[in-house]
């Protein structure tokens, strides 16, 4: 065997490896490859009592000729101070955040088109497929930047088309997954794949790769493109998604249908009602069975069916009145519930660096969760050792309720006192509580 023969065999092998994609679809797939980018993000964090910067790598996919890039909310957030995009051409260009939605783990960026034009950079954009049409067993490809390995393609199948996967602290403490189900795939997804597309053989986006089980063998999850398309248009329009909230936590009925004497395929068990929420005020109770919303029958026998029902509520205009038909015991009655704006548990964060104190505003839903009477106060999320807050004895999870004997109703209250302290440092009295126990502290210069 001479050298030329062995080389040709190698070429043949290479050819075989390429063929499964098929010559006909490779153009679409190649176009997709050219639309996938690496995203380097530097963001500010308010941990440990100061402003810190952290860096991360993710993936994204260009959606339009005017430079919109879709990625995950956990890759690029409003805390990003610098976003750099590595195009398929390996050229690096800056980008800005256009919109963010942690509930679906999606974020939208826009390339610095001025810079793109100035430097004459080229890129293509990808197209959405239809995630409602994918089926378990269908071959899919994940493209992204696992561990910084730019433009890595992995192959797998759709393992499940509607996996429920709610995680109330999933996105750096923010809630996610309540309003959509996920595509599950066994295509290898590793850290850095986040935000990259999951595509069919013709290069159409059916999902945005988002998360996987650590240590498991290829159990990964992607946001379906049908959800992503809705969110993208909302983010382009408003920079965020406004949702309605009524405070019901649904549970799957499963075979309790018999116990509650329900017709088959109808009803959602109300597993919990947030105290003080619109639903609680309207008189809804745990153990009630929700039969319909504004006349539309709801069926929540299985966990997979719950996210769309939650989304139905969430997608109503804020302040609108929902007519909920509910079965309680043997009675069926209607409740009118006025929706509120859905808020994250995670409030705005800030760091007071001279005190070595970082805080987060207590949000309404945080206050509910912690059973506080209202959302007065800021939660301590970090203190820097040796700085005044630490020396005074303040620690993580304290809730600062008063400063200089005045209630802290917003971050601005405490910022104002801090500004005065910066100008003229003097001992400052704080009142804080932790697990309902109240303590006083002095911040000393």
């Amino acid at each position: 065997m001479n050298l030329s023969t062995s080389r040709s065999i190698f070429a043949l092998v290479l050819l075989c490896a390429v063929t499964p994609l098929g010559a006909a679809v490779s153009r679409g797939f190649n176009q997709l490859l050219d639309a996938v980018v690496r995203i380097d993000v530097r963001e500010v964090t308010f941990e440990e009592g100061g402003k810190r910067f952290s860096a991360g790598i993710g993936s994204g996919v260009i959606l339009s000729a005017d430079g919109l890039i879709l990625t995950n909310a956990h890759v690029a957030s409003p805390r990003a101070v610098e976003i750099n995009i590595t195009l398929a051409s390996l050229e690096v260009v800056g980008a800005k955040l256009v919109g963010w939605d942690h509930w679906t783990d999606l974020a939208l960026l826009r390339l610095d088109m001025g810079e793109v034009k100035r430097r004459g950079l080229q890129f293509t954009h990808a197209e959405f497929g239809n995630s409602d049409k994918v089926f378990a067993g269908q071959t899919v490809y994940a493209v992204g930047t696992p561990y910084g390995l730019t433009r890595t393609v992995t192959r797998g199948i759709i393992s499940n088309t509607s996996r429920p996967f709610e995680d109330l602290r999933g996105i750096n403490g923010y809630e996610t997954g309540s309003f959509n189900t996920w595509l599950q795939t066994d295509a290898a997804i590793n850290p850095g794949n986040s935000g990259g597309p999951l595509v069919t053989e013709d290069g159409k986006i059916v999902g945005i790769n988002s998360r996987g089980y650590n240590g498991a063998d290829n159990l990964a999850f992607a946001i379906p493109s049908s959800t992503a398309q809705d969110i993208v248009s909302g983010l382009v329009r408003e920079g965020g998604i406004t949702r309605s909230y009524i405070g019901l936590v649904p549970g799957a009925l499963r075979d309790l249908a018999g116990f509650y004497a329900l017709a088959l395929n109808i009803g959602v068990l109300i597993n919990s009602v947030d105290p003080g929420s619109p639903a609680a005020r309207a008189g809804l109770r745990v153990g009630d069975i929700l039969l319909s919303i504004n006349g539309r029958k709801v069926d929540g026998r299985f966990p997979e069916q719950l996210p769309p029902i939650q989304n139905l509520i969430a997608s109503q205009p804020v302040g609108s009145v929902l007519k909920l038909s509910v079965k309680r015991g043997n009675d069926t009655r209607d409740f009118n519930v006025t929706t509120e704006k859905l808020e994250s548990r995670v409030g705005e964060e800030w760091a007071f660096e001279k005190w070595g104190l970082s805080v987060r505003k207590v949000s309404r839903s945080d206050a509910r969760e912690r059973q506080l009477p209202d959302n007065t106060g800021v939660l301590v999320i970090g203190v820097q050792p040796g700085f005044p807050a630490d020396v005074a004895g303040i620690s993580r999870d304290d809730i600062i309720m008063k400063i200089k004997q005045q209630p802290v109703t917003s971050l601005e209250d405490i910022k104002a006192v801090y500004a005065a302290y910066e100008a003229k440092p003097e001992p400052t009295l704080l009142e804080a509580q932790r697990f309902r126990r109240v303590s006083l502290y002095i911040l000393k210069p």
């Binding site: 116990f259 597993n271 919990s272 620690s395 000393k444």
Partner: protein
Amino acid sequence: MNLRRHLCFFLALAAARHADASDIPALWAERVKSTVAVEFYVETETDRRPALSFGTVIDSNGTIILPSAAVDPRVSPDQLKDFKVHRAGETSSVPGQYLGQDNLTGWHFVRVDPKQLTGLVPITVFAAKDGAPSPAPALAEEVWGIGLRNKDEDFTPYIMMSRIGLIQSLPQRSAIALHEVAAPGLPVFNQEGMFLGLATSSFGQSYMQFSRPDRGATPVVLVNVEESSVFPLAEEVLPYFGRIPKSVSGRPLAWLGAYGLEPIDPEVAQFMKLESQGAVVISEVLEGSPAEKAGLKDHDIIVALDGQPLPRFKPGSVVVGYVDRELAKRLPGDLLAVSVLRGTDRREIKVVLGDEPKLIRETSRKYFDRLGLTVREFVYGDGVALRVKSGESTGVVAHFVKANSPVAIAGLHADDWIKEIDGVEVKTFDLAVQKLAAIEADRDRGEFVILASRGGETAVLRVKLK
């Protein structure tokens, strides 16, 4: 032989039997007669757990005190069974009677018939000499005390010896020795054999002594639970021997209703010009409590009780224990003047102390073996813990959940709050018991449903019975 000679002879004999002051083994042998080992059982739904504690004899009626840690505070007195009292070093025992726990000292009182268990010597015999009480120990003074081995060694008594390292108010005046000096609950003596104090269970004291104010840090805890190096002094112990509970419940118990007392740290005290005394913040004034009725408010700072400023302790956190003890010394109906700082105002508020609401250990309970749970009454303290207003406090609490039982498989945990059974609100304990009893008795029932709440979240649990 006249009477006078008789008497002289008797006195001489008695003197001869008394040990020499420096003869510690002889002193020890006499004082061991003040110590006993007490065995009893804690009966639960599914088992009987043996328990052992050591106690000190306090009078000639056979009254014995055990340290507070002898019994888990959640355990109801009627779960305590079959008290048996052994003299140190003896396998045989006689039955004892549980008299209850004293709220102020935390001691559990047990009594044996001194005719059945002869030879016991009350510790008070060693608490005074020639009418003078035991002196307080001095720093570096050598002291010794008694330990008892375990049952497999017939509770053989042994001696421990150490020197005083520190005397501190915690809030009782307590000596801390360099090494273990006695088993918890057993006495400590000086070189003359005078009673100096009673060793406490090491956990509470070491927690106080070695924990640091940075909350969240794990306190250093002595691992030796059988021997202790800390003992409140005789002056803190002897005056309370008369506090024998009038009932096993330990009532009457005075109640103020100020929840979450937190000490003021020294820097804040200085800022508030309170540096020479102690102070505590009231985190919450409880609904319907005497404190609320008298007009105390959340976040008031208590600076004095009955006109007496709170003392300053080291560490400062001890002041909370001081306030608790001051309350425990009083009775329901007593008038207590509480001086507080509210913002910059100082005011004195007169509170008529109330009766402590029913405690968990006093609740009615009922066990359902087939279903696998014990339910108990929902009490005031549950409402406080769950932040439920007293008007909303219906339901019962799952006091015990049997492993792998139908309710356990359905997901019920101990301490879950059961609000509904089979879709019916269980407004009272009796109603819950009635419903559960009917379900338990009905062998044809395939399932039932519990609505339970845990940590503010509720869930509908389906219990399969077949």
